[in-house]
């Protein structure tokens, strides 16, 4: 390793520095606003750094990392999400916690973990990234410790995440025993000889358990609803987007390197997981009265859809998955942004009755929520439609008919509950207008503007996906 090889890692180094800088700022007793702004600037710096190193890609930093187009793409999405979530966090935490500053250290550390997952090509970096993400998340979920729910959610996530990482490690150890290498490419070399060994398959299986847990796929989804509900809303947005993008990115790379999809057994396992996620997620969401829980179950279903794009294991599938993740993140960010904006100090805006007739009281916010729900439901004019369209076309190309049929059936079921929420938005309500928060006018307005921009992006991607698609192809070619 030499210093030249460090250059492609520049964005990640800056990301790591962001949390150190935040610690320093806290040590100097600077205000929440300063930290927020600095964090924002640091994240912008990461984006610039990614832009700066684009010519050196793809670059391998042996043995742990590989920085290629795919990694840059997913890191870009992650950074975009954390920019938005950071902004949402300001108004949310400024109201609730006397001391919201340490939150940002954890936020940036967790982001770093997710970003490392996108570039890792070795079990060690996979594990470090995943744990960086998880351990920060334990604290983030339980951050508002004065609320019972938060601690309870944190505890649940803690126990299950610790269990799943133990499984992950056990699987890694077994694979290492059979393959003699912990590098993905090293495993791929040995694979033809060991692919039928029971211990190797058991190892793969336990890794699938751990990944499935992180992505909240059925049957490892039990934590999702409780954690989504109990976490502070920006953290929920984090779990729903960044944490899953990072995990999916590493799954994708692992699968690509060792050509996971050529084993019928693995395909069968993932098909079953995808199908059951789609069915269970959509059905459990049907009767939810709590918007955060509803989004939790819907995200279980959505990652089932995403796995349908993962199953074929071809270029089109990767492209579809990348597009899906981008569309899905923007959608969820706008939905959670609306929840953040509507939450007051005492109450999370999570029960559906808060939203009754919202469109007549706060038309802009309600329209944004409606657009994001339409996008989740996959209705044309929104990004969600094209995302689903690409997944379907990737599936049709490889003729995975059964998961496709389930996808169609369950998205019809899914429509029902999204429409139910939309119907609530348009209902008639007797309650008076929610109190307008003008405590921090600047951040309030900028959150508002961000939401409008996000909704605009949903429309723009939904109608003119050409540019995004080209970008994705450009990135994916760099490998």
């Amino acid at each position: 390793m030499n210093e030249l090889q460090l250059i492609p890692l520049l964005p990640f180094i800056i990301l790591a520095m962001a949390s150190v800088v935040t610690i320093l700022l806290i040590a100097f007793r600077l205000s929440h606003t300063v930290i927020q702004v600095t964090g924002f600037l640091m994240m912008c710096l990461v984006v610039f750094a990614t832009w700066y190193v684009r010519d050196t890609l793809p670059e391998e930093v042996p043995p742990l990392f590989i920085v290629d187009g795919q990694a840059a793409l997913f890191t870009g999405v992650i950074i975009f999400c954390v920019l938005v979530i950071g902004l949402f966090s300001y108004i949310y935490f400024e109201e609730r916690e006397e001391n919201p500053k340490e939150y940002y250290i954890l936020l940036f550390l967790a982001t770093l973990g997710a970003a490392i997952l996108t570039i890792s090509q070795h079990f060690i970096s996979l594990f470090i990234g995943l744990e960086l993400l998880s351990v920060s998340l334990y604290a983030l979920i339980a951050y508002l410790r004065n609320r019972n729910n938060a601690v309870e959610a944190g505890m649940k996530y803690l126990v299950l995440a610790a269990l799943s990482s133990a499984f992950l490690l056990f699987g890694m150890a077994l694979i290492y025993m059979e393959a003699g290498s912990m590098k993905f490419s090293g495993i791929a070399e040995k694979l033809p000889q060991v692919s039928s060994s029971p211990l190797f398959l058991m190892g793969l299986g336990t890794i699938v358990v751990a990944i499935g847990f992180k992505l909240a796929l059925v049957p490892f989804h039990l934590w999702a609803a409780d954690v989504y509900q109990g976490s502070p809303t920006p953290v929920t947005a984090f779990i729903a987007t960044i944490s899953k993008i990072g995990t999916f990115a590493v799954l994708l790379r692992f699968a690509q390197t060792i050509h996971l999809q050529q084993y019928p057994l693995i395909i069968a396992i993932f098909s079953v997981i995808a199908i059951s996620s789609m069915i269970v997620g959509n059905i459990l969401a049907l009767r939810q009265q709590n918007l955060k829980r509803l989004l939790a179950y819907s995200s279980i279903a959505h990652f089932g859809y995403l796995l349908v794009a993962f199953l074929p294991g071809n270029e089109a599938g990767t492209e579809a998955a990348a597009f899906y993740l981008i569309a899905y993140s923007i959608t969820l960010l706008s939905a959670f942004g609306v929840i953040t904006l509507l939450s007051s100090r005492e109450h999370e805006a999570e029960t559906l009755d808060i939203y009754t007739g919202l469109i007549w009281r706060r038309p802009v916010v309600a329209t944004i929520l409606a657009i994001s729900l339409f996008s989740l439901a996959g209705i044309p004019l929104t990004a969600g439609f094209l995302a689903k369209f690409f997944v379907l076309s990737a599936g049709v190309q490889q003729a995975v008919w059964l998961p496709l049929a389930v996808l169609i059936l369950t998205s019809v079921i899914g429509l029902y509950y999204y429409l139910r929420v939309i119907n609530t938005l348009f209902g008639t309500s007797g309650t008076a207008d929610v109190m307008q928060k003008t405590v921090h006018p600047f951040f309030h307005v900028s959150t508002y503007i961000t939401l409008v921009v996000l909704a605009g992006m949903l429309f723009w991607i939904g109608v003119f996906p050409g540019l995004v698609l080209q970008g994705i192809r450009l990135f994916l070619l760099l490998h």
Partner: protein, 489 residues
């Protein structure tokens, strides 16, 4: 390009209505009226263009622009005679829909007209899209505003009806999406040219079994929309609970998109598979004719009654399309037009009655002739049209269909003729219950206002004119006999 302007006018008009209604609800109504009228004018203005076009059997307007080149999706819209008359119907009924909601909609006016105009935009998009992706896009876009129209301004059981409507049609259209994708990849693998363009996909060679499955994907979506038995379940609820303009659009236009889809996509793209499945489709069509008529006879809810007559009439469309005869095809086009007008008119009447009596139950009506002679007179004309009285448009349509079917399927066409008799029975029963007999309702009713009179007169005149001079319409769709090899013979 002019076609895109037509769409843009509607979309922009919808947004303007929404914004304008914040200040002044009346303004929204006028904007909506002007918007749709402008589109109708443009569509009428296209008539001379069409006449001047040398070869009046083909696409006289054809516009293509890149949309998502990476996928082979283009913004391809085109117009032939068939699409043109459907566009005319769309805007004509659109104006009537705006007019009939003038007084009926009092709350959230702007949003109402927004939804109305966007539904119209979706429907016109469906009629002109020549790119399957764009077609699917528009097919979906017309659903959401329609759903909102039903669920927000509908009647008591509107939630149930709206969800049912949406889920039924959505299930069908997702299957269609799958079929479109399958066609796209098969064509791409054959030619190396991945495109959603209609004219390119027409050339796809399919093995019989693939063709059958792919066609089923399309056909189920269209048959649900049409609707044919056994997929008709959503229709009575949706029609019954929707606001008047919603029922008008549903019956007059949304059902027609199903018929349009079968004629435009299923027959030309899958000629062999369509011929194979034709006997079954005719059977379903005949079943729909009889079943719809019987159920219409037993209804007491006026709007549901009219809804079931739609099931019956659309059965004729299915029979006509799959009998593969040019005469029947002309009848189908006539049926699409005249059913849109006559059933739309009946729904308008039902809406007017409901506005006055606050009920849709025909057992609570009766003897209304004395107090509402004008409405009664109109009603006689329109129900007779719907029952297929000669000299009115529907007669020609159904006569042509039966004539065309008789030569290759005499038994089923005789059974279908029974439907005509049944339609006379339920129409007369409806007239008798509502307008004749002793006066039951104690609510004082007033006769038609000038606005309502204009609406119904316009509809009646067009039905009579279509009945007396069907030739112009038949001329415009002459080329439809080239869409399927069997039609030539």
């Amino acid at each position: 390009m002019i076609l895109i302007w037509m769409l843009c006018i509607l979309l922009a008009g919808g947004i303007l209505c929404w914004l304008a209604a914040q200040r002044q609800p009346l303004l929204a109504r006028w904007i909506a009226l002007i918007t749709v009228s402008a589109d109708l004018l443009i569509a009428c203005w296209l008539f001379p263009v069409y006449q001047a076009f040398p070869d009046n059997s083909s696409w006289f307007i054809n516009y293509q622009a890149n949309w998502i080149p990476a996928l082979g999706v283009s913004f391809h819209v085109a117009l032939d005679g068939f699409s043109h008359i459907l566009l005319l119907l769309t805007y004509f009924l659109g104006i009537l829909a705006v007019l009939c909601s003038w007084k009926e909609v009092r709350e959230r006016t702007g949003f109402y007209f927004f939804n109305l105009l966007w539904t119209l935009a979706g429907i016109s998009g469906v009629f002109i899209a020549m790119d399957l992706f764009l077609f699917y896009f528009c097919w979906e876009i017309m659903l959401i505003p329609m759903f909102l129209l039903i669920i927000l301004w509908g009647d008591v059981r509107r939630h149930y009806a709206a969800y049912k409507f949406f889920l039924f049609t959505q299930a069908g259209s997702l299957l269609m999406l799958l079929a479109i994708l399958a066609l796209y990849f098969i064509h791409g693998q054959q030619t190396g040219n991945y495109t959603f363009d209609y004219f390119a996909l027409l050339q796809t060679a399919l093995t019989p079994s693939t063709a059958m499955w792919t066609m089923l994907g399309f056909l189920i979506a269209f048959v649900i929309k049409l609707p044919a038995v056994p997929f008709h379940n959503w229709l009575p609820d949706a029609h019954g609970e929707a606001p008047t303009a919603g029922s008008l659009l549903l019956a007059g236009l949304l059902l027609k998109t199903g018929a349009y889809g079968i004629i435009r996509f299923v027959l030309p793209i899958f000629p062999q598979a369509a011929a194979d499945i034709a006997p079954w489709m005719i059977l379903i069509g005949v079943a729909g004719i009889i079943y719809g008529a019987l159920l219409a006879f037993s209804q007491t809810d006026l709007k549901r009654l009219i809804a079931y007559t739609s099931v019956s009439h659309m059965g004729f469309v299915l029979v006509g399309v799959f009998s593969f005869s040019s005469i029947a095809m002309q009848g189908v086009v006539m049926q699409i037009l005249t059913h849109g007008l006559s059933t739309g008119a009946l729904f308008l009447m039902a809406g007017m009655l409901k506005e006055r009596l606050h009920t849709r139950d025909i057992t609570k009506m009766g003897g209304l002739w004395t107090s509402m002679p004008r409405l009664g007179g109109m009603a006689i004309l329109l129900t007779m049209a719907s029952a297929g009285l000669p000299a009115l448009g529907n007669f020609i349509a159904e006569f042509f269909i039966l004539l065309g079917t008789f030569s290759n399927n005499p038994v089923l066409s005789i059974i279908a003729t029974l439907g005509l008799i049944l339609s006379a029975v339920y129409s007369l029963r409806m007239m008798q219950k509502v307008f004749m007999g002793p006066l039951i309702s104690t609510v004082p009713v007033v006769d038609l206002s000038a606005r309502e009179l204009i609406i119904l007169t316009a509809l009646s005149i067009s039905i009579v004119v279509l009945g007396l001079f069907p030739q112009p319409v038949i001329d415009t769709v002459h080329h439809l006999s080239t869409i399927h090899p069997l039609l030539h013979e």
